[in-house]
């Protein structure tokens, strides 16, 4: 009962606090953390104590690892998170999120701007109508809901996290968290209107999910979801800098540049790659051994395959090859797309970039727009928050590389 009262009071204080953010000088925790909220008789006491000491006291954050139906999205059928995985994720959030921001923005930063509640959900939020899958939501800068917790690799004695496991962490949770947290930041200090003007004609809040990754990159977006609205584009851009792998970034750059660049873009691309700390000379990097394919699409009017006038990478070719449409005569299914190998590249820097055309077309967006938006977003980040997105990327990647050492240090508890 005491705990309930306490949480209610936290909510009330948060409500008051959120209306007067900015300019205050905080020292220790802004809330009264002396109220006892721990019950030693609980089966979860050791973990609750850890949460108390690592989230509630320093950041006034309530990590709700118990499923709360009334606080969840009733549009989705959802499951609770697994206890073991919840503990592991809480540790990772501390290690890969709070400690990172605190290191570069100071002790008060996350106390002031960090979310107040995390709610862990075991499953995805499947939307049967759109076929989309919700991975995370943020409510008014107060609560971040993370889904799909039960797909994490669970903790066991001696467990090791592979690069693939870390990628899954980024894709399912940390990309979402940086995304949602960036919303909190831009809702506190508005981002420049010029950001949304770069690709202002092509945002689509309704049908963004129908766009494929090649389209989004070639039209100047980091992800599909970024093309839904400028504020989503803004936070996706920042989150991708911090969490996306070299592989994804290079795919993005190759896709976005393949249709042509503006004068000076090639030099800027190299600067961007350097900022992302991608080793262009890495012989195992796919960017030094890839093929571009010319794509054509079946026309049900003519029965012929018509060029879409875009080059795609092998990963997209494999996806696109699976689509089928009814043929012109309506007698059978045929492949919607066909792909023809156009050119093989053995080096990004010495082969691909020289091949890329310098274009003067008015409607060219692609890498040029992408880099303009990256520039606006990272400058805003630095000027308003003193944070360097690429530094955060380096810090996060360093920690991820050491994640197996970190796993040896943590305690995951069984239920008592």
């Amino acid at each position: 009962m005491k705990k309930i009262t306490y949480l209610i009071s936290v909510a009330a204080v948060v409500a008051v606090f959120s209306s007067c953010r900015g300019g205050d000088d905080f020292t220790e925790s802004i809330f009264d953390t002396s109220v006892p909220v721990l019950d030693e008789t609980k089966a979860t006491y050791p973990f609750d104590k850890w949460l108390y000491e690592n989230f509630l006291v320093p950041y006034n954050v309530d990590v709700k690892y118990r499923f709360d139906l009334s606080a969840s999205d009733m549009n989705f059928q959802l499951t609770p998170a697994d206890y073991n995985r919840s503990q592991l994720l809480a540790h990772f959030i501390r290690y890969l999120f709070y400690d990172v921001y605190t290191k570069y923005a100071g002790d008060d930063f996350m106390k002031q701007y960090g979310p107040r509640i995390f709610h862990f959900i075991g499953s995805s939020g499947f939307s049967p109508t759109t076929g989309t899958e919700v991975l995370g939501t943020a409510s008014g800068g107060v609560k971040i809901t993370l889904y799909k917790i039960n797909e994490m690799k669970p903790y066991s004695e001696g467990v090791t996290y592979t690069g693939e496991d870390v990628n899954t962490l980024n894709e399912n949770y940390f990309h979402t968290m940086h995304h949602e947290f960036s919303h909190i930041l831009h809702q506190t200090k508005t981002y420049p209107i010029t950001f949304g003007q770069v690709t202002s004609g092509s945002y689509d809040p309704i049908n963004w999910h129908d766009r494929d990754s090649v389209w989004t990159h070639q039209n100047g977006y980091v992800t599909h979801y970024a093309s839904s609205a400028s504020f989503e584009d803004f936070v996706e851009t920042l989150s991708c800098i911090i969490t996306d792998t070299d592989h994804r970034w290079m795919n993005r750059i190759i896709n976005a540049a393949s249709m042509g660049v503006r004068q000076g873009d090639k030099e800027d691309i190299l600067v961007l790659i350097d900022s992302l700390e991608i080793n262009l000379n890495d012989p195992s990097g796919h960017w030094n051994n890839f093929t571009l394919y010319e794509e054509s699409e079946y026309s049900d009017e003519t029965g012929e395959y018509v060029p879409t006038k875009r080059y795609v990478l092998d990963e997209h070719r494999l996806l696109g090859s699976a689509y089928q449409v009814v043929n012109k005569e309506a007698t059978a299914y045929v492949a919607q797309y066909k792909y023809k190998a156009y050119r093989k590249f053995t080096s990004f820097k010495n082969d691909f970039l020289p091949w890329v055309e310098i274009s003067t077309k008015d409607d060219l967006t692609g890498i040029n727009s992408l880099m303009k938006k990256l520039d606006i977003a990272t400058k805003w980040y630095t000027e308003n928050w003193g944070l360097y997105a690429f530094t955060l990327r380096r810090e996060v990647r360093g920690r991820q590389n050491a994640i197996n050492d970190y796993l040896k240090e943590i305690d995951i508890y069984e239920l008592k």
Binding site: T44, S70, P80
Partner: protein, 448 residues
């Protein structure tokens, strides 16, 4: 206008009655003595006490869905601890990680949530319970039965509808399925094996259809063995049918929700003392397996006549059949005669002669004569022989160099009549007495 007034008055009376009925289980002094919040708090304390006071834990009769049953009911087991830990066990077919159908225990957390009412929430993942709730991607939904991201439409948040010392009735907060918890009276594995034994006793793969009789009404159900059965107004080509889920118990089975048939309770059924039928709480509804149709319409087994119970005339005919067989082939000899389906080309359903086809009597074959058998009333067999029924190829072949067909036809003629059947088991008979209605010889049928 008049109609509208009547409707409003009727609704008002109904509302008042509903409010009153909803309160009747409270003592008078409880009605207004506590605030709703305090009442929920006290109910939570009471429920916590009941949950913990179960030395052998609880049986959870768990159901999913929000209407027509898609899945069967599941027996789960739970032991609640004071610190919020619950251990849930089960052996259902949706257990994951290679554990489908294997007894599995899993620990997780529970909480008594105070909302508008009291909610028993299982609020961390549990390997035994939560697969029923998991939406999974629609393409991976169990059996692809629900293709909309809703998984099996199970609930982990269960609204407490009523509680007694030994029984808690809950309802899924999202999908509304009823879940019942009863204190377990034996260890869980024993409950599972006892329940399985009962299920095997009252259901089998051969007979999965039943008569439901309530007074003068008879309904039919198919598929009880699956734990999800169809209830209908007719055996064949029903005009109306409904799908219900049930949980098997050590005594019988129990449907998900309280229901009635012709005003009689249709909810929980137990095997009666004679082991002949399943009966409801007050004995007014009986469920009988369709053993009579199983015998009459048998498609595989041959129900042989006990030759000692035949008439002298019939015994004499069997001697003649043996003679005719030897006339065809000296190595052949008579073995059995019965009702069923013959084998070989042009197989017929009717009277079947089984004969040895070698002198060492290690090989058998059959010859058949079509007979019309029917089930005019529950437990009755009608045998009709008109004289022009067809034979199968084997009997036709034997008859080429013998006179066996005529003898078999004489035997068939002696069987015509209607009989009351008395099975040796009412759920899966292996033998049956035929008592001639209106006089005549009685017979005994047995499966080989």
């Amino acid at each position: 206008m008049m109609k509208k007034d009547i409707k409003i008055v009727t609704m008002g009376v109904a509302l008042f009655a509903a409010m009153f009925a909803g309160c009747t289980h409270f003592e008078e002094e409880d009605l207004f003595s506590e605030s709703p919040a305090l009442r929920i708090e006290h109910n939570a304390e009471k429920l916590q006490g009941i949950l913990l006071d179960a030395p052998q834990g609880w049986v959870i009769q768990y159901h999913t869905g929000d209407g027509v049953a898609v899945f069967e009911g599941f027996n789960l087991f739970a032991r609640f601890e004071k610190g919020g830990k619950v251990t849930i066990a089960g052996d259902h077919r949706f257990l994951r990680d290679g554990n489908a159908g294997k007894y599995t225990e899993a620990a997780s957390l529970y909480e008594l949530v105070r909302e508008d009412g009291l909610v028993l929430a299982f609020n961390t993942w549990n390997d035994v319970l939560t697969p029923f709730v998991d939406p999974v991607a629609y393409w991976a939904a169990p059996n692809n039965l629900l293709k909309d991201g809703e998984g099996m439409q199970g609930d982990q948040n269960l609204v407490v509808m009523s509680m007694k010392e030994n029984e808690i009735i809950l309802r899924g907060e999202r999908y509304d399925a009823e879940v019942r918890m009863v204190k377990c009276d034996r260890d869980w594995q024993t409950y599972i094996s006892d329940t399985k034994a009962m299920k095997e006793r009252i259901t089998n793969k051969m007979i999965n259809s039943y008569y439901i009789t309530a007074g003068n009404d008879t309904l039919y159900c198919v598929g009880l063995r699956n734990g999800r059965y169809r209830i209908s107004d007719r055996v064949d080509n029903p005009l109306k049918s409904d799908s219900l889920s049930c949980c098997f118990t050590p005594e019988g089975f129990r449907n998900e929700k309280v229901d009635t048939i012709a005003g009689h309770p249709f909810h929980e059924f137990k095997l009666n003392e004679e082991g002949s039928a399943l009966v409801n709480e007050d004995g007014s509804v009986r469920i009988n397996a369709m053993w009579d149709r199983y015998i009459v319409n048998t498609r595989t087994a041959i129900w042989n006549f006990d030759q000692d119970k035949l008439t002298e005339e019939q015994k004499g005919l069997l001697v003649q059949i043996n003679t005719e067989l030897k006339a065809f082939n000296s190595a052949y000899s008579f073995a059995e005669i019965g009702l069923g389906r013959s084998s070989g080309n042009g197989a017929v359903k009717g009277l079947v002669v089984t004969f040895y086809s070698n002198t060492s009597k290690t090989k058998t074959n059959t010859a058949g004569l079509s007979l019309t058998t029917a089930c005019p009333l529950y437990g009755q067999m009608q045998i009709s022989y008109l004289g022009d029924e067809m034979t199968d190829k084997n009997l036709e072949t034997l008859n080429k160099t013998s006179n066996i067909e005529a003898v078999v036809r004489q035997f068939a003629a002696t069987l015509s009549g209607t009989y009351n059947m008395v099975p040796d088991d009412n759920f899966l008979p292996t033998g049956c007495e035929l008592h001639a209605i209106g006089g005549g010889n009685n017979y005994v049928l047995k499966q080989p």
